[in-house]
Amino acid sequence: MAEIDKTIWGDEEDWVDIISNYDSGVPVKERIQYASLDSTDASTIENYILAHKINTSQPIDQSLCYGALGDKMPLSNISNTAGAVGWRNEEDGNTPYRSYIANLQTSGNRDTREATNYVFGTWTTPVEINMEKGAQLYIRQGQRSDRFHQFWIPDSLIGNVSEWSSGDKEYNPTINTKLLARIPVKNMIAIPRVKCLSDVTATGATASYVDLLDYINPQSNINYTTHPYVVTVGLVFATAQGGVTETNINRNLTIRLNTCVITSPTNMMKNMPYYQYGGWDKNARYNDYAYHYASCIGSHYRNSVDCMMPIMGLINAPLRTDTKFQDVNVKSDRDGNWDLFDVRFDLGTTEQATLGGGYALPMYSWAGKEPNIYLVEDHDPNHTDGQKYQNSTTYWAWEINASNVEEFRQDVRHATAGFGLFFVEGDANRNLPLDDENMFLGILEDGVGNGEYSHGPANRNQDQWNWDDMHENDYNPLDPPVPDDGKTDPYNTSVLPNRGLFSPYSGSWIMDNLALYDVIDASTDFYIAMQNAIEDYNTAALDWDFTNPLDFDSYLQRQWGGKSNPIDCFTSIVHYPFNIKTVANINTSGQTRVQVGSWVPDHDIITSGALCDKVGLATQYGIIDCGSVSFPVTGTDFRDYEPYTTATLYVPFCGSVQLECQVYAGYSVRLKYLVDWRTGMCLALVYRDNLIMEVLPGTMGNRINLSMQDVATYTGQLANAAIQEQGLHKQRFNNFLGTVGNLVKIAAGVAITAGSDGALSPIGLSMMTSGATGLVGNYQSMSQRKVAENSVTYNIATAQVPTRQISTATASVNACNEMVPRIVLIKSVEEDATNYGHTVGYACLKYGALKDISTGYTVCQTIDTNGINATETEKEQIRSLLTGGVYV
């Protein structure tokens, strides 16, 4: 943890301990806890401070900001152009989010940050001066104003208060708010909602608010075809009832949330002390402007009727609704039972917000005017272009169509994942188990979300799975975004491989005029199969009666579809001794019964459910991230280095590699695998922080031995024999006819002879001769064909079922070895070093005046004897003595 700047945050003993007023008997994970004032005296912050001036080990409840949005997230990349804040391009001032991300590397008139803090909160109204409603954090001028900075709170919750323009600490804000201090991470899921328009030609178009899942579904009432213009995406939260289990989910309560960025394009807050930007780091200030950025997510807590209400904004905040409330039928949440209520808000109504002094900049939105960007203009003919766009009813929208709807979906996932929460894409999925394939979980790295997410069983591998609430994140909002120890590698983050980064659709894969990838794509499918599926295939392959070989046709039809040789369809099967879907977060396109050739297993054969996950071609490559550990020696002692200490990283599947202590000491060691699923080959990538240092090849998957009955060859043998037999039958018949003919010829010869002159005529004799000869010949042919028929029958009866091997097993010893990566240290044993410093002196490399460096035993390498009024002989003695060791 970074050293806390007390000039900003004050002394620790003066910090406020923000506590929850929740009932102690309720499990944390089942409740949303508010950081609030003491429940018995919530009137003023003075009273609170006086009552709770506690020196705690955790002076600031970091759960108020349990995590941060990383540098790739929209709210960490806000640009300012011509007084408007948004994700903009400096060149034309109009750039949608995606283009903005693409241009992140070109810094400019942009406020970028490594991490952006945010807070979830509820409040009664936007900030009002001296307003006495609800829970208040109240600073009265001249009283406890010097303590104001002790309370870490995003100034979004404080608002834009004119008194701050004085630039000192004499504030007079009143905050009516409740902060969500503890979010029960496993019982509170986020659902992104899309705010969209059907038309961009009319002034003041009314936006609709729909689930992401509905929006991308063209069959829904409101979707990207009916409402193609997206203005923004926000969040709602669904919380579980108390006492629910993972398998009995019922997340009834919906809390309307939003993310806002506050802009105040005036100089009003110019002199506001930096530390008032608690929600952001002090670099949040932008140029000479006191742009006031903050991210707030929360719901109104309306004291008067005790109901949860959507929060629309703050003073000068985008999406300000002029505090339009919509009452909902909700009971008090102060009795500890509010999560039992079925609360749904009419989002469509409450979101009909008028854009105030700023632009809508919620969790994810667009602003721009590019090829597929449409600006909803004010069509007042009396307005100039500028006025049209500045009109409060102006929307900036991005057109979503069939070509980019999936891209849009991924972007929303990305933006939602940054908060590190569980989330689903639509309300219909709100009650899914947390490890369902359609349940997503934002991945936090060192407490910071960068938009990556897991889903399905892989969710169990995230830290949040074991948390009761987000407070268990070790992220500290006071930590500077870039550690100042000079030991980070802020560069080279791009070398972190991304799954699917390699694409066979790129590069030179062209053969003649044929794009090879077309061939690949058309001929190859990848599946991820579990053990039972493989067993089913094995069963299917063997499920036929060898004793009745002629029944093979039935077998083929039944088992393999009869139209293909199944063995020719298996290209390879690679075995992994773990669940690669879970480890590598592989996106699948759903489970299916694998078609092998023309065979698709059906239920009468496949009983154990040989369902496999079909994956795309790009999934041939995967990333396994094993996370990072701190290198076990800090490097503060020479004994941490070689030859006194050696460190070896054991990398499962790849062997071991020695890590140079001088290189890694003080850093973290991160291990990732880049895996070619199809071959089983992998590269272990060892990082020092984010800098890749070592690459180890290895074998993670083992190609299994594939041999199978060669049905096609066998079929061919039998078929050829059958055809041959059929031919022989036909020839036998012909021979029979030939024999009969010859007999007729003989008879005819006799008849002719007898019928004329009683003597054999040459013709009759010839006929008789030829008939007899043919008779003999046909008889011989029939005999030979009988032999052939017997031979064919014998061949059929004794045909051997051929087998064919299409792949050879590779060594699988890696799969049997230890599976947990670890760093092993070997350290030297020290001898007795009593009085070592006094007798030998500790190693030291310091330069300066001797009196300032060392006392006791001292050895100098060089000494400047200028200034000593001694003879040269004496100086030489001095130099000699000091290099030999003296006691100072």
Partner: protein, 175 residues
């Protein structure tokens, strides 16, 4: 040539000769704490860095090992030998102690300290540190908090050629 007598303080120290700020117990006048000034004489040419002095025999001097001659630049000396000579005299051989003599000036000097009793710099490799070259130990290893390679959930990556079915009719067998 008879030289003027030198006033010499004589005492003893048990400190390491390499110590700058030595603790010296001077011989004192009887009944006082004031160091006694011995009258010494040189005998011929004398190197003030390694002088030989003659003085009246004093049994207290026999047990001494340190001297100070204020008039010679307030130099401090080690007594390297003591000889008793006839006539009730004794002769002391001295060697200048530059460390004590120039203690203050030396401490002001700029230098590069490579070893120090007080200023340990842990990251500097100490080749003198007593290490047993024949013995090593292995502390508990650092495990990655990664349980993804869990056995019992084996998976297979199956690569299957896509099948496209073609239909055609066999020709009639020839007669």
């Amino acid at each position: 040539m008879a030289a003027d007598a030198l006033n010499v303080f004589i005492g003893s120290t048990s400190d390491d000769p390499r110590k700058l700020d030595k603790t010296i117990t001077w011989l004192v006048q009887s009944g006082t704490t004031t160091p006694f000034e011995f009258k010494c004489y040189i005998t011929g040419n004398c190197d003030i860095l390694n002088p030989t002095l003659v003085l009246a025999y004093d049994s207290n001097v026999v047990g001494s090992n340190y001297a100070n001659i204020p008039s010679w630049g307030n130099r401090y000396y080690f007594i390297t030998s003591i000889q008793v000579i006839p006539g009730g005299k004794m002769m002391l051989s001295l060697s200048v102690d530059v460390l004590k003599t120039y203690e203050t000036a030396i401490k002001e000097c700029y230098c590069c300290v490579t070893r120090s009793e007080s200023a340990e710099v842990n990251w500097v490799t100490d080749t003198c540190y007593p290490i047993n070259p024949n013995e090593k130990y292995i502390p508990p290893s650092t495990l990655f908090n990664f349980s993804g390679f869990t056995t019992g959930q084996d998976t297979y990556f199956v690569d299957i050629a896509e099948f496209k079915q073609y239909t055609f009719e066999l020709p009639e067998l020839p007669d």
